[in-house]
């Protein structure tokens, strides 16, 4: 009994226990958790309209919103979810209950629009500004008038139910993020065909993100990877795109072809990305918050107006003049605009629409200013949102006019089934490895306490590394598992050194326990530094794909040397002590 008390009052062991508690809190394991986690929401889908929000990037797996039931049907597995969704018809109400709140959404039908050869008369409501004289003063008043227009008859053909726009996965049972090779998905490594500076790289990445977004793929990682530390020069730059649960064909199609941008007024194409836009200004001189209009108070907060200029080819300018010359001028609070809007399409999907200033009517100008606004509850908020919106628009306009070609240099499409198999297998291998070590140790020392301490310490080391990975948001992939095995392996080596130093009690052996421990730790630290320096270059080599391995190994041996090994030394001293 005395020994247990001694163990629990030793500060090195207390430190290990505290670290373990933190690690478990970071991992938050809950193997019994059921439900389906929301991974992403497609734009303009029923789900998005119902107010379900996209999970914020960097959100830990356990904090994701979980669907509990749909129309009171409990949803426990991804299969349940799909079974329910497949049974839906168009224009039905679906009540989704999540662990955070309830949503009500309407399913939408998917229609094909067909323009017929006949025309029909339609009544269109329109708001116009008229000048009225009230009490001898002329004021502008908005009035709604009914207007009859002739339009081609359109037949809608129902082809099915639109997907409600949720992308889901089985709810995580812990905060450990599984890497792509453990959960399945597609990884594509892209390389610009020529050297690009940091600015251009940023533009390319924003561009890819925007396009993936347009396609409703939001659960994606798009990041820059360099194979040399910035300090040591340029090196090669790559873009890593990782998409869980998308097929390779989809992703390749999307990334390999250049984005197609088109702006239309009514039905007339005005300009296209690549050929018609010669320049999109993104420097402070000609882009930013509009100095003339700036920010102002609006209902419910503030709104800021941004503007930036773009240059068109004379051809495109002429097309714009032709498309706008017959439009009417409408007055609004913000200024005078033309009756039709400039609608922006990215890969044939509508992404935005802009008002056209009245003075552009029928004029062929090559320099045009694009403006828009962003709102927020406070003025800085509104400003941030306006600038964000501006950046998004610029990104869309640049798409298709990227000056560099991007090559796909590596694609991996990993089967989710194999991933599941790997996880199970990794657990089995880990158990076997630790047990085999314990057996060898027991044969060598004939001491159950030594073997047991070694198992306890090795398991703690695994938990600490996983906890650390969960905390900093590292992915655990196969290479990282190898790194953990190595870290635990060196851990066992060091524990053997400690045990041998402690057990050598033969006569004439100099020094007390502290002395012996010092000697053991000299060897351990030397071995530690060699492992760390050997792993350093790997953080960058191979386009960073082995980074996980290098970092996990370094983290593992570091935790081992500073936390678990001192605790092991104390355990051995107390357990084997007289």
């Amino acid at each position: 009994m005395g020994k247990i008390k001694q163990l629990l009052t030793n500060w090195r062991i207390i430190l290990l226990i505290i670290f373990l508690i933190f690690a478990v809190i970071a991992i938050r394991p809950n193997p019994f958790k059921e439900g389906v986690a929301i991974k992403a929401i497609a734009k303009n889908s029923s789900a998005a309209l119902a107010g379900i929000e996209n999970p914020k990037p960097g959100l830990s797996p356990m904090s994701k919103e979980i669907i509990i039931s749909m129309n009171n049907v409990p949803i426990n597995t991804v299969a349940d979810y799909y079974e329910f969704v497949d049974s839906l018809d168009a224009n039905r109400t679906v009540r989704i209950k999540t662990n955070k709140q309830s949503y009500t959404l309407m399913t939408k039908g998917e229609y094909e629009k067909k323009e017929l050869n006949e025309t029909e008369q339609k009544i269109k409501k329109e708001t116009v500004t008229v000048n009225e004289t009230i009490d001898n003063k002329t004021v502008s008043v908005n009035k709604t008038i009914n207007k009859t227009v002739t339009v081609p008859k359109i037949k809608k053909i129902y082809i099915g139910v639109q997907d409600i726009g949720l992308s889901v996965s089985q709810a995580a049972t812990s905060n450990i993020r599984k890497g792509l090779d453990l959960q399945g998905g597609t990884r594509v490594l892209l390389q610009p065909a020529e050297a690009v500076d940091d600015n251009m790289m940023g533009t390319i990445i924003d561009n890819l993100k925007e396009r993936l977004n347009v396609y409703g793929l939001t659960d994606v990682v798009v990041k820059e990877i360099r194979d040399k530390p910035k300090l040591l020069g340029e090196g090669n730059k790559y873009i890593l795109v990782e998409i869980a649960g998308a097929t390779e064909e989809e992703v390749k199609d999307l990334l390999a072809k250049q984005g197609k941008f088109e702006a239309k007024v009514g039905n007339a194409s005005v300009f296209k990305g690549g050929e018609d836009i010669t320049y999109v200004c993104r420097t402070a001189e000609c882009s930013g918050i509009d100095p003339n209009r700036g920010c102002g108070k609006v209902e419910g907060g503030y709104a800021c107006t941004f503007m930036f200029s773009i240059s068109l080819t004379p051809d495109a300018a002429q097309k714009q003049a032709d498309a706008t010359k017959d439009l009417r001028i409408e007055k609004t609070e913000q200024g005078e605009y033309l009756s039709e809007k400039l609608v922006l399409f990215l890969d044939d999907k509508k992404v935005d629409q802009l008002n056209i200033a009245a003075d552009l009517k029928g004029r062929a100008v090559t320099e045009i200013a694009i403006s828009g606004s962003g709102a927020g509850t406070t003025e800085p908020d509104a400003m941030t949102n306006a600038l964000k919106e501006m950046k998004r628009l610029q990104t869309i306009l640049i798409t298709g006019s990227l000056p560099v070609k991007i090559n796909i240099v590596k694609t991996d499409n990993i089967s989710p089934m194999l991933g599941v198999q790997f996880v199970k297998n990794a657990l089995l291998v880990g158990m076997i490895a630790i047990l085999s070590v314990a057996v060898v140790i027991f044969i060598r020392y004939r001491h159950i306490k030594v073997a047991a301490s070694m198992i306890v310490v090795s398991l703690s080391e695994i938990i600490l590394v996983l906890g650390f990975a969960a905390l900093v948001g590292w992915n655990i992939d196969l290479a990282a598992i190898a790194g953990i095995i190595i870290a635990v392996g060196t851990g066992v080596d060091d524990q053997i050194v400690i045990t041998d130093e402690t057990l050598r009690k033969e006569a004439g052996h100099l020094g007390g326990w502290a002395q012996r421990l010092k000697r053991a730790f000299f060897i351990i630290l030397a071995a530690y530094f060699t492992t760390v320096v050997a792993m350093m270059p790997l953080i960058f080599a191979g386009a960073g794909l082995l980074k996980g391995f290098a970092l996990t190994t370094i983290a593992g041996v570091t935790i081992g040397v500073f936390v678990t090994r001192p605790a092991f030394a104390s355990m051995i001293k107390i357990l084997l002590g007289e």
Partner: protein, 300 residues
């Protein structure tokens, strides 16, 4: 007991003779690598992850004749360089790995589907493709990484012992480990992959551990004779190596992941050579050096 004391006797008295064995081993390894370089232009054959190509991993339930599959695919794709490996878990076949270079992904996939010898089910197989220029740059960088790691390791050893000669012995032992392991890998017909390079880096760390243990015990302790100190550190060091060896061997047998399998087999081979290089080469050379030094001191 008789055998043990005879072995100890040989280990104690004939340590210089034993060293010939490791020296021969080192030269054999250099010979193998040199021969490889002379005939193929590279020291070890590179796998698709370092030279570019496609890897398809297909889980299977029933056994598949890989020889037949290979001939069939080769007939369909005469220009491609195709290799088929079996991935086992505890001896049971779990997946077939098809590696091919000089071919594009769709052509290989179609050939596999047309061969009808193995089923490609949606979502059930993994396909990885690596551009050849990226593979080449990976290879260059990982080689640089290994060299840098080696230099850094040497520096740490030098700082640790603050003594040139014993440090150089440690570095020599690590070099021998790496070269012997590389030669063994090539003789076993294995190809070097990115994961394999990572394993070599690990090996640098692992193999140096026992050498550091030996050198610090022998250099820094004063109790007992040099040989007694060697035996003491050997007991610790062998326990370390044997536990790692067995754990890595079992992991190699039981894992179903090709990456982990490759890492583990290299560690297993490396640890085997490390035992020889630490306890024969490094020990012998260190003992020789120290006893000569002692003699000189004695005479002075």
């Amino acid at each position: 007991m008789g055998i043990k004391s005879t072995l100890l006797e040989i280990y104690d008295k004939k340590y210089k003779g034993l060293m010939i064995f490791t020296i021969v081993l080192l030269f054999l390894a250099i010979g193998v690598l040199g021969y490889n370089y002379a005939t193929t232009g590279e020291f070890v054959k590179k796998g698709v992850s370092l030279k570019g190509g496609i890897t398809i991993t297909i889980p299977v339930d029933t056994d598949i004749d890989t020889g037949v599959l290979k001939t069939d695919l080769q007939d369909r794709l005469p220009k491609a360089d195709i290799e088929i490996r079996r991935l086992t878990e505890a001896g049971m076949l779990v997946s077939i790995i098809i590696e091919a270079s000089d071919i594009d992904e769709d052509a290989l996939k179609n050939a596999v589907i047309e061969s009808k010898l193995i089923e490609l089910k949606e979502d059930n197989y993994t396909i990885e493709s690596m551009g050849s220029s990226l593979g080449a740059s990976f290879f260059r960088q990982t080689i640089i990484a290994v060299i840098l790691a080696f230099l850094a390791m040497g520096l740490v050893v030098l700082i640790t012992f603050r003594s040139w000669v014993p440090s150089l012995f440690v570095i020599l032992a690590a070099t021998s480990d790496i070269l012997c392991t590389l030669a063994a890998v090539s003789l076993l017909g294995m190809k070097l992959t990115t994961a394999g390079v990572a394993a070599f880096l690990m090996l640098i760390g692992y193999s140096v551990d026992t050498d550091i243990l030996l050198t610090s015990r022998v250099l820094k302790r004063k109790e007992g004779t040099i040989f007694e100190r060697i035996l003491g550190s050997m007991k610790t060091g062998m326990t370390m190596s044997i536990t790692s060896f067995i754990a890595a061997l079992l992991a190699y047998i039981f894992t179903s992941s090709d990456i982990i399998k490759q890492i583990m087999i290299i560690i297993v081979i490396g640890l085997f050579f490390d035992m020889l290089n630490t306890w024969i080469q490094n020990t012998g050379i260190l003992r020789w050096y120290l006893e000569r030094k002692q003699k000189k001191h004695g005479e002075n």
